[in-house]
């Protein structure tokens, strides 16, 4: 069986309208893949940076997969939330990134978007806080038709991931 190790960190998030952020993440993969070790989901710390515009999470990711095929290559999906002064969270970005298929160190900037509501939704969100969310979060990372979704750009989630492959060459796969 071929194996893949994905080890690294969700470093942080930047370019969001607010700086006090945390991130929920989840790994998704196809039926040919089996998770051997590691957590497939988690939630980072909340960072309220003293200065600068990057919120740092330093959240470890350490996943070990075994696979029988290339289809369903693992991907990581992120939901970034703003944590306000009253302790409420509101969604500020959805994003996803495929785990790189090439071994080595990768610095990945994952772009995010948030659903845009109607004019009244946006106005109320500005005054009361909170924001709209997707009913089905799998729209972010699955190959679904998105034509009815209207979105606005969010900031970026920064990842630093190292990929280690095992036995791929024995199966004649070049990465």
């Amino acid at each position: 069986m071929a194996e893949v190790h994905v080890i690294g960190q969700i470093v942080g998030a930047s370019e969001f309208p607010e700086n006090d952020l945390f991130c929920k993440w989840e790994a998704h993969f196809g039926p040919a893949w089996k998770r051997l070790e590691g957590e497939v989901s988690g939630q980072t710390q909340v960072d309220c940076p003293a200065s600068g515009e990057m919120a740092y999470f330093a959240h470890p990711i350490d996943l070990h997969f075994a696979t029988r095929g290339l289809q369903g290559w693992p991907k990581l999906h992120f939901e970034v939330f703003h944590y306000d002064w009253a302790g409420r969270s509101s969604l500020v970005g959805y994003g996803f990134a495929h785990v790189p298929s090439q071994p080595g160190l990768h610095k990945i900037d994952c772009v995010t978007w948030r659903p845009t509501g109607s004019f009244m939704d946006e106005v109320s969100s500005k005054f009361v806080g909170g924001g709209i969310q997707l009913k089905r979060p799998d729209l972010v990372y699955e190959l679904h038709d998105r034509r009815n979704v209207h979105s606005t750009a969010g900031g970026k989630v920064h990842l630093e991931l190292s990929v280690i492959l095992r036995n791929f060459d024995k199966f004649g796969v070049e990465c």
Partner: protein, 198 residues
């Protein structure tokens, strides 16, 4: 050196240093580093915990704490899962002379052979409410992690609120033994195995 045939474990050797810390708010800082790793890993050489010198901030515009604090360690493992992480605690003293945590940082040891320089953020846990913050200021008790090794894991971090307030610069030179013999491909473009064995 030829890889050992029939090897069941590989070795990771890292030599480097914690070069400097930028924490412009604080005048006096010293560092303690520890390693966090999975159960398949065993530290064969190197300190379990390292304590640095006490540094004063430079008087110039950089406001830098320079340590050049060596980190040298060798690990043995059967599995890349649980790859070691370096957790560093930056400590100082408050106006009453009590030892206080100024920040934490966590980063993985490199997973590829070679030399790298890394800049890693430092962050300090915050009180969960305004009341506990005021109480802490008056009693000189600042929030800290009871075991900094929690930073090496993903579980349990969601309830923590932190404030990132500085950067640490480190460099590492990394070499491995037997990773190739065990079939691990750490870098792109390495082509070994069936074709190379012929």
């Amino acid at each position: 050196m030829a890889a050992e045939a029939g090897a069941s474990s590989f070795m990771l050797n890292v030599c480097g240093q914690i070069e400097s810390v930028e924490l412009p708010h604080y005048d006096y800082i010293f560092l303690i580093y520890q390693f966090v790793h999975g159960d398949d890993w065993e530290r064969v050489l190197g300190l379990e915990e390292g304590v640095s010198q006490l540094s004063s901030k430079s008087a110039d515009v950089r406001g830098l704490h320079a340590f050049a604090f060596p980190v040298e360690v060798t690990f043995k493992s059967t599995n890349p899962h649980g790859w070691p992480q370096l957790v560093v605690t930056a400590l100082g003293t408050d106006i009453w002379g009590n030892q206080v945590v100024r920040g934490y940082s966590v980063c993985h040891l490199p997973m590829q052979p070679g030399r790298v320089t890394k800049r890693v953020p430092l962050f300090a846990p915050q009180s969960s409410s305004l009341m506990s913050k005021l109480q802490g200021l008056m009693q000189s008790e600042h929030p800290l992690y009871t075991d900094p090794k929690i930073l090496g894991q993903g579980q349990g971090r969601q309830v923590t609120r932190v404030r990132s307030l500085g950067q640490m610069t480190l460099n590492f030179s990394t070499s491995m033994k037997n990773t190739r013999a065990l079939g691990y491909q750490l870098l792109p473009g390495e082509n070994f195995g069936a074709a190379a064995a012929m």
